[in-house]
């Protein structure tokens, strides 16, 4: 899972969509509806005369430069910077965390389990199952809590319930071994690799 700000994505999409829709609708209206054409032309003339006066009134040191033009450039610059900042948020980063779980203290000491151990344990256990093409185990930080993500790509025609039950037993055993149950999210994928791989299991 990544940290993409989805609310921001949709808000930006809505605002820009409404802007484009508005501009496009106005464009069609003024070209095809005489009343809209009249309103557009008169409003345009009024705006132009107001803008000419405003530019003349805000001329810098009596020259050609105007505070309005400078302000417009500054405003555009600010909006562009904000949009670029939003883009970096849109891209999102993986919410990956370093998983480290410590069990209870016992006479022999304390067992600390790291992500790589969990990853290797799950991968090695699944490696014996021929219907599984690939396994990926990561730990994500979600609302300040570690969540294990086990992503599995099985061969085509593999029963997902059998696979889920097997993974469930595996993760339960792992939790018993490490002494701590971690919230786990399992995703089972299909894809090019599953399509290209032979759907029959090897017989050995």
């Amino acid at each position: 899972m990544n940290t993409t700000n989805r609310a921001l994505n949709r808000t930006l999409l809505l605002i820009i969509g409404l802007l484009f829709l508005g501009l496009g609708t106005v464009g069609i209206a003024i070209m095809s509806w005489p009343t809209a054409t009249d309103i557009w032309t008169s409003a345009g003339d009024d705006t132009r005369s107001w803008l000419d006066q405003a530019i003349a009134a805000s001329a810098i040191a009596g020259g050609n430069l105007s505070w309005i033009a400078v302000g417009a450039v500054a405003a555009i610059l600010v909006v562009v910077v904000l949009l670029i900042l939003a883009l970096t948020s849109i891209a999102g980063r993986r919410s990956k965390t370093v998983f480290r779980s410590s069990g209870a203290q016992n006479p022999l000491g304390r067992v600390t389990v790291t992500e790589s151990f969990v990853s290797d344990a799950v991968k090695n256990s699944l490696a014996t199952r021929d219907e599984i093409l690939s396994t990926q185990v990561t730990a994500n930080d979600i609302r300040h809590r570690p969540v294990l993500h086990v992503a599995v790509t099985p061969r085509q025609n593999t029963d997902p319930r059998e696979l889920v039950d097997h993974l469930d037993r595996l993760l339960t055993n792992l939790a018993a071994l490490t002494g701590r149950e971690t919230e786990t999210y399992v995703s089972i994928h299909t894809g090019l690799r599953a399509r290209l791989a032979h759907d029959q299991r090897r017989l050995s």
């Binding site: 949709r10 484009f20 070209m31 979600i142 089972i188």
Partner: protein
């Protein structure tokens, strides 16, 4: 999937973040704003405009209703409006991905629809004795469509396929109930004659 954290994970994994659409929309807006800003700066610096200076652009905008060719302006506006409709549509629709959630106690399990479809197809192939390539399964959010092509002269009971598909889907324990539709696709008489 009892905790709010896992519910959040599942929600995010089963719905599109709309990243690509937002990226395209923002880039288009940035390009437009940068161009306008550049034209203003060139005008302030008394340099020749890239395409159209601010004053000329203002004049062109006011005279847009009489601009020629009118068809081109209308077409451009229609494209802009259509793009706007697409962006608004993408912003307000949920954007569900082709995935189903499986019941799995305290864990959250999300499965691609393709995995369910291929597993169900394989199961129906074993149940009916038909070759796997003669069974097509499409899995949607609310329905599962099964198309079986038994070939000429091979008897096949539609209700048997239907119940086999429903029973198999029950064993998957999907959190959202789905409607199963079965279609038996037999080659028509003309093909038989050929």
């Amino acid at each position: 999937m009892s905790t709010p954290v896992l519910r959040r994970v599942v929600r995010r994994e089963t719905h599109s973040p709309r990243t690509v659409a937002t990226f395209v929309a923002v880039i288009l807006l940035i390009v437009a704003l940068v161009y306008i800003g550049l034209e203003i700066v060139l005008s302030l610096a008394a340099q020749p405009a890239l395409l159209l200076g601010p004053a000329a652009a203002g004049g062109w905008l006011i005279g847009l209703p009489t601009a020629q060719p009118a068809g081109l302006v209308i077409a451009g506006s229609a494209v802009l409006a259509l793009l706007g409709v697409i962006f608004v549509w993408l912003a307000v629709t949920p954007g569900r991905l082709s995935k189903h959630i499986l019941e799995a106690g305290d864990r959250a399990v999300v499965v691609d629809n393709g995995v369910i479809a291929s597993a169900l197809g394989q199961h129906l192939s074993e149940e009916t004795g038909l070759a796997r390539e003669n069974i097509t399964v499409g899995v949607g959010h609310r329905s599962v469509d099964v198309t079986v092509r038994p070939g000429a002269g091979i008897p096949l009971d539609k209700s048997m396929v239907q119940s086999a598909a429903e029973l198999e889907l029950e064993t998957y324990r999907l959190t959202r109930s789905v409607r199963t539709r079965v279609r038996i696709d037999r080659p028509d008489a003309k093909e038989d004659e050929l």
